[in-house]
Symmetry: C2
Subunit: 79 residues, 2 copies
């Protein structure tokens, strides 16, 4: 089973990397981008009986390893 995990900064947490990208896009004359926030993405292959079990497994992986829940949120998408 394939899944994708998204880890993003919580709103209110500063994202200097996103700000740097906004500046770089402006200097490349790519206009129209109002804001950028960078996050992480994990493409995971799992062995699980059903999508619900896969989701539970990945939520556990996020809580224990992939996301720092003080400053980050995560989403799990089973495909």
């Amino acid at each position: 089973m394939k899944a994708r995990v998204f880890v993003t900064l919580r709103s209110g947490i500063l994202d200097p990397q996103g700000k740097a990208i906004e500046g770089a896009l402006k200097s490349l004359q790519i206009d129209g981008v109002k804001s950028v926030r960078q996050g992480k993405l994990f493409d995971v292959e799992i062995e699980a009986q059903d999508p619900a079990a896969a989701k539970a497994l990945l939520q556990q992986a996020c809580q224990k390893l992939l996301a720092n829940q003080v400053v980050e949120d995560f989403e799990v998408e089973i495909s």
Copy 2:
């Protein structure tokens, strides 16, 4: 308009960070994860007339800045 850009390593390109995560999950007794590949995620807010224009703008941003197309692929998702 909001959009999400995914930048992932092309298949065949080694991902040592993903391998490290696989190892860490095993040592945390989170079993069932067969493979992990890490990528980047950008949450972007754009000013564009329509979704097609937004997509074109972000494809340009990926080609010029966000993705290194020698080793990375990108996907743009307008929401």
